[in-house]
Amino acid sequence: MAILEILTIPDERLKQVSAPVEDFGAPLQGFLADLEETRLNGPAAVGIAAPQVAHFQRICIVDCSVTRKPVPNHGRLVLINPEIIEWDGYEAGREGCLSVPDYTGNVIRATKIRLKAQQPSGEEREYAMEGFEARAVQHELDHLDGLLFTDRVVSRRTDLFRRKVYQKGGNKSS
């Protein structure tokens, strides 16, 4: 096992689109152990994506089981070739990133998603996620497409107005 170096902005490689995983053999399993060790080594990160350690394959790890205030979650997830197949709602929330030191910003994400991903074994699974965990997955999947949360940051004022519109819409349908 090894702690890998995390790429930080303005490293151009963070903009690279990662390739699907095809081989689920020993090298993949070794990399997954290193990726998890790297995630746990830094500041309390709920997720990490392979391209953040210059490994350009569609792999990420998400674990929302240890937040300050408990949130709905599926425990620690290793997601390989993940794909969001349904989105619903949107909400602003505060994000930071291991690859963007000393900065946080508000980002609008879907509140509910359906996710399809392969396990380290290659087996395919589907998940229904909401809230903080859904946000974490969307943040990590962006990395696989070469996007950072800074590409999506909105101002507080946007948050305010969006939220009002969203709540109104929610009340109408309920």
Binding site: V46, R68, K69, G93, E95, D102, T104, L160
Partner: protein, 170 residues
């Protein structure tokens, strides 16, 4: 004392203020740090951290004057990378009445809440103004204790809600 100074500019809003000011600072060899630039009630307000040996005090006033801006330049202590990240958010909305800000922020201060950012606006109409305020801050206090402080000032025509901010790092 740090290398940074705080530059404040305020005046009636018009197009081109930001570009003229920042171009002049660049030509003077100044660097910009954290800044806040926002339109408030038809005025444009700028607060920015600037550094560098540039002769701001000598060279910038004529430019500011030509844009109708009043200017201040003050030495400051502190510098970049001293962020404190908010762990609580307070939203206030209600009838626009005097004292609402003092009342809410007073309760928060007594509960050990440190305001990092406050933004407020008046929505609604001339006849029926609604005051909306968003506060982000940091506190070591427990959620229950802060909730108690907030609930004491909420009610009637003022709605105050507190929520923890869980910043996602990933």
């Amino acid at each position: 004392m740090s290398e940074w100074k705080m530059l404040t500019l305020v005046g009636e809003d018009r197009p081109g203020i930001v570009s003229r000011i920042t171009r002049t600072l660049f030509e003077l060899g100044c660097a910009l740090g954290e800044t806040s630039m926002i339109r408030l009630g038809g005025n444009f307000t700028i607060m920015m951290m600037v550094s560098g040996d540039g002769e701001i005090q000598a060279q910038l006033p004529p430019v500011a004057e030509s844009l109708g801006l009043r200017m201040h330049l003050d030495p400051i202590s502190g510098g970049l990378h001293q962020h404190r990240f908010a762990n609580y958010q307070v939203r206030v909305s209600g009838a626009d009445r005097p004292g609402i800000v003092a009342q809410v922020t007073g309760a928060l201060a007594d509960a050990g809440f440190n305001i990092l950012e406050l933004e407020s606006d008046v929505a609604g109409s001339e006849q029926k103004p609604v005051y909306i305020m968003q506060i982000q801050g940091y506190s070591e206090a427990l959620l229950e204790d802060l909730e108690g402080a907030v609930n004491a000032v909420s009610g009637g025509d003022v709605d105050v809600t507190l929520s923890p901010i869980e910043t996602l790092i990933g």
